[in-house]
């Protein structure tokens, strides 16, 4: 009898837990839409400037989100340009070449890097800047390049891990076919193993992109500022969506700015969840497309 009661209560409590989680998610989305939905107009992004002029960089946008969105996109592109080649190459090395003590050591290093809080990575980026600043007599300060580099080191372990596990999961029969036919190790990797695991690698990369887009702690220490306009070079400071949201939360002056903050939150939410939904889609579709093209 007691056991029956225990089982029943576990079932009921589990369902309550599930409902609690889903309802808090719905509450979050509903609240954001309720508060920021009305601000979702073209003027949220472009302010008073004509969209064409703003996009052609003819005129600066002052009261819109365009600089922040551009900053976030540049951050994503920059850090991915660093992280993808290095991460995939390192993943290939880990899966195909690395053995023994070296593998254990590198595995440990990647684990630690993956666990390091983003604020520590940001702090390290700031220290690097201070270091460079002393070395080059004040020519380098916090900027887009430093942020990209810090964000890249934040997401590197994810890309390495997904590449490594994707390569290691390739069917042993597929793996051995090309070498038997006389292909070199490198040919086997580039022509057989990588194409076979590309959907997993791409979804890993997209997940990493999402982390770059959402991370606030790193960029707030390495060069994101409240007003900078669209950066002209990689040595400029820049605006970014997550930092803008954080800034508005503490510095807003009126309901208009607050509504803009909610609008920014909605845009960031759509960007990040959109990236995640696309990984779910890719994992289902991409392997089929590549197989039957």
């Amino acid at each position: 009898m007691m056991e029956k009661l225990f089982e029943k209560s576990v079932v009921v409590l589990s369902w309550i837990a599930g409902l609690l989680l889903i309802s808090s998610l719905l509450l979050l989305i509903a609240y954001l839409v309720y508060k920021g939905g009305s601000s979702l107009r073209l003027s949220l992004i472009f302010g008073d400037t004509a969209p064409i002029d703003a996009l052609m960089l003819k005129r600066q946008v002052f009261d819109g989100l365009l600089p922040a969105i551009a900053g976030t996109l540049l951050l994503i592109i920059g850090s991915m340009l660093i992280a993808i080649p290095v991460g995939v190459a390192a993943g290939i090395y880990m899966a195909e070449y690395c053995r023994g003590t070296m593998k254990a050591l590198l595995n440990l290093a990647f684990d630690i890097l993956a666990g390091v809080p983003s604020i520590i990575v940001g702090l390290a980026g700031l220290l690097l800047t201070i270091f460079l600043n002393r070395k080059f007599q004040g020519q380098i300060s916090t900027c887009l390049l430093i942020s990209c580099f810090s964000l890249a080191s934040l997401v590197l372990p994810y890309i390495i891990r997904t590449t490594q596990t994707a390569l290691e999961a390739v069917d042993p029969i597929v793996r051995k076919t090309a070498p038997v036919l006389g292909a070199s190790r490198l040919q086997n990797i580039t022509m057989v193993l990588l194409p076979n695991s590309v959907s997993d690698i791409i979804s890993g990369v997209i997940l990493a992109t999402g982390r770059c887009a959402e991370d606030t702690a790193v960029i707030m220490l390495t060069g994101a500022v409240a007003t900078a306009g669209i950066p002209r070079s990689v040595f400029d400071q820049y605006e970014a969506l997550p930092f803008y949201i954080y800034y508005i939360s503490s510095q807003y002056t009126g309901p208009d700015e607050l509504a803009q903050g909610f609008g920014a939150a909605i845009i960031l939410l759509i960007l990040c969840t959109g990236l995640l939904v696309s990984t779910l889609w890719i994992q289902r579709r991409l392997s089929t497309i590549l197989l039957y093209r």
């Binding site: 369902w15 599930g18 050591l105 440990l108 666990g115 520590i120 939904v277």
Partner: protein, 286 residues
């Protein structure tokens, strides 16, 4: 390890891997390099255990340390039962179609930016807390904890679901053959077999809770005093580091940041090590 037979491309792979591995070391070295003067001066005990009062020459990080641990523990206490319940629902209680949908929702939830959670909570939860407590700003450990719990829940759920699903079907089919119900199968067979995975999920969740910056920075209030109750404003280690820009780069305040950084780095590295060791240990036993 036949380095001399490598081609140019293969050397590039090697360099990329070693470079990435060295990043973990480099971050530690940077923190150590800048924090070393302070550590050498023999004030480590002072730093760790005194309070934060720059006007009296005290730069201890003890209050932040305690707050970080309290907040992480509290949010784990909320998040763990909810995550476990959700993973039960997803693995066996819900109808199959609903399981897929729920799992997809949880996956997408891992991508919701922390700053969005905190921003919404700042205007939704903080006023409620202010009214409930009756004094203060409404920003407190108690406000930050449920939000942090929501942030770490999806990761833990995915991990739990993964380890519950890994239990071999020879066990679960045996229960089905004996006429056990879904919940009996879950409670008496799957859970006892999957608990190492549950422990690992908790370690991972705790690490994330300790390392999260935005929730505590925006919702906990950032007062440097040791709070007397859960409803008072407080500052975590991560928030303390995030506020570093407010300090002069040559000041003691700035230097004490590195001790915070070193502590967090060592703690999360230790958690990761524990996580790996327990994974290896349990996979060898079964």
């Amino acid at each position: 390890m036949r380095f001399w037979t490598y081609s140019v491309n293969e050397y590039l792979f090697l360099i990329a891997a070693v470079f990435s591995g060295l990043l973990a070391v480099a971050i530690f070295c940077f923190l150590l390099f800048f924090g070393l003067p302070l550590l050498q001066s023999g004030q480590l005990a002072d730093l760790l255990f005194s309070s934060w009062a720059p006007d009296k020459g005290l730069y201890g990080i003890y209050p932040m340390l305690i707050i970080s641990l309290t907040l992480a523990t509290l949010s784990m206490l909320i998040s763990f039962p909810v995550s476990l319940g959700c993973s039960f629902v997803i693995t066996s209680l819900a109808p199959v179609r609903l399981r897929r949908i729920l799992l997809a929702i949880i996956r997408v939830m891992t991508g919701i930016p922390t700053v969005v959670y905190s921003f919404a909570a700042l205007f939704l939860l903080v006023p409620i807390m202010r009214n409930l407590v009756g004094h203060g700003s409404g920003m407190s450990i108690l406000t930050a904890a449920p939000v942090l719990a929501l942030v770490i829940a999806p990761t833990m759920i995915l991990f739990f679901v993964d380890s519950l699903n890994k239990v071999s079907s020879s066990f679960t089919l045996a229960v089905d053959a004996l006429g056990g119900s879904e919940i009996q199968k879950l409670l008496y067979v799957i859970l006892p077999l999957a608990w190492p995975g549950i422990v690992n999920g908790v370690l991972l969740g705790f690490g994330r809770a300790m390392g999260d910056t935005m929730v505590s920075l925006m919702l906990a209030g950032n007062s440097t005093a040791v709070p007397e109750s859960m409803t008072e404003s407080a500052r975590t280690l991560t928030a303390h580091i995030a506020l570093v820009m407010a300090f002069d780069f040559d000041s003691m305040e700035f230097k004490s940041i590195f001790v915070c950084g070193l502590f967090l780095y060592i703690l999360t590295a230790a958690l990761m090590l524990l996580f790996r060791m327990s994974t290896v240990y349990f996979s060898e036993r079964t």
